[in-house]
């Protein structure tokens, strides 16, 4: 057993949980969080792909990919949240 194995399994579990949430949840905010879980799970997998038992240095390429993934994900999250806010105010306006 080693850290790579432990966190690889963790990442796959988090991804599967996020996938379940994305498929089942109805509440807008919760669906966004479910997608965030999926992205963290995928990040785990890539970081594990880079991992080497210390003192060996890890492979830097997946680290760069995950950083890219994190920035991409906050962009997507921001757009989804803006849509949620917009939809909310449109629905409130039509209710009044």
């Amino acid at each position: 057993m080693n850290s790579g194995l432990i966190f690889g399994l963790t990442g796959i579990a988090v991804f599967a949980i996020g996938l379940f949430g994305a498929l089942v949840m109805v509440e807008p905010l919760r669906r966004v969080l479910a997608l965030k879980l999926c992205s963290v799970g995928a990040g785990f997998l890539l970081v594990v792909g880079a991992w080497q038992a210390p003192p060996d240095m890890p492979d830097p390429v997946p680290h760069a990919l995950v950083i890219t993934g994190i920035v991409v994900m906050i962009s997507a999250t921001a757009v989804a949240l803006a849509l949620i806010r917009r939809l909310h105010s449109l629905e409130r306006a039509s209710d009044e």
Binding site: M1, S3, L5, I6, F7, G8, T10, I12, A13, V14, F15, A16, I17, G18, F20, L23, V24, V26, E27, L29, V32, L33, A34, K36, L37, V40, G43, F44, V48, G49, A50, W51, Q52, M57, P58, D59, P60, V61, H63, A64, L65, V66, I67, T68, I70, V71, V72, M73, I74, S75, A76, A78, V79, L81, A82, I84, R85, H88, S89, R92
Partner: protein, 313 residues
């Protein structure tokens, strides 16, 4: 004897999985977001354990810190209407649970079959570090070897702010808060410190974990504090400047990538003598853009002339 750190890893991994479940299961929406923030911090800790401090920095600053702030403002915006409870049929839940269970099982089998600790691209990166212009491998990958990906990532950020400004036209302005003395004191102390930390992270990226994204995110936190405290109020007159800030990183990055392509060189092939300077220039501009864009994503609306909604407060 088992390494006690492995026990730490196991507990950490279990806690992360449990929190992921809790985020989705938590009824209260505020608690859901708080749990998500904790989940993000734990993931960052796990990435530290996997010797990925750069990723941990990015996750803590962007994936958790700023995302958490975004989620909190959105919840604040929509909290007036509690979600109508839409019952999900139990059959659908069980079917999806089965599906995701199967996917989990399949992925675990596939994962266990992979050559863990394969060298990957570590060797070619190490061999070309000399030519990359920087001393930190992750920065070399981001800004040189795979610079095209990074440029497109900044483009994604640009697309996000364009879309958000487009979507949120005419959204009601939130009322201004009353800021206490304590907060003002905090802001006075914290803001300069944060600016220094952000710049430091950008600078240190050339030879140690850190860089444009982490630095930009920390600087964006300054923007968040300014916006929250109303020390800075976005004005319609600032729009051209903001737009310039959003596109600056992309424009400089793409421009340099193209301009170096002469005399037999291809795009993104920085001349060896100037590689370090060019990378630092790109990083600096990208940091500014990231900071401005993330703060603007947090603010959401494009500043407009006296909106109607503010008047009837």
């Amino acid at each position: 004897m088992t390494d006690p750190l492995l026990i730490f890893d196991v507990i950490l991994g279990l806690a992360i999985v449990a929190l992921a479940v809790a985020v989705l299961a938590m009824h209260d929406r505020f608690a859901m977001i708080v749990l998500f923030i904790v989940f993000g911090l734990l993931s960052a800790l796990a990435w530290v354990r996997l010797s990925a401090p750069d990723v941990a920095l990015a996750e803590a600053a962007i994936g958790t810190g700023l995302t958490g702030a975004l989620l909190l403002t959105t919840l604040h915006h929509i909290r007036a209407t509690p979600p109508a409870p839409v019952p999900v049929p139990a059959g659908a839940i069980i079917a999806n649970l089965g599906l995701c269970g199967l996917i989990f099982g399949g992925l675990v089998v596939a994962f266990l079959s992979t050559p863990l600790q394969a060298p990957g691209l570590a060797l070619p990166v190490a061999q070309n570090m000399e030519a990359s212009g920087v001393a930190h491998p992750v920065t070399a990958v981001l800004l040189n070897f795979r610079a095209y990906d990074t440029l497109m990532e900044v483009v994604v950020l640009l697309a996000a702010i364009v879309a958000v400004w487009m979507v949120e036209r005419g959204t009601a302005q939130a009322p201004s808060p009353v800021m206490g003395e304590i907060y003002r004191g905090f802001a006075r102390l914290a803001l300069p410190a944060i600016v220094i930390i952000g710049t430091y992270l950008l600078w240190v990226g050339a030879y140690a974990p850190g860089g444009a994204f982490q630095g930009g995110a920390v600087l964006a936190a300054v923007g968040l504090l300014l916006l929250l405290s109303r020390l800075y109020r976005p004005q319609p007159a600032h729009r051209p400047l903001a737009r310039l800030g959003f596109v600056l990183g992309t424009a400089v990055f793409a421009g340099i990538a193209l301009l170096v392509a002469s005399g037999g060189r291809v795009p993104f092939e920085y001349p060896a003598a100037h590689a370090k300077t060019l990378i630092l220039l790109i990083e600096g501009m990208v940091t500014i853009s990231i900071a401005v864009t993330l703060a603007a994503l947090f603010h959401g609306r494009e500043p407009e002339y006296a909106s109607v909604s503010e008047n009837h407060k």
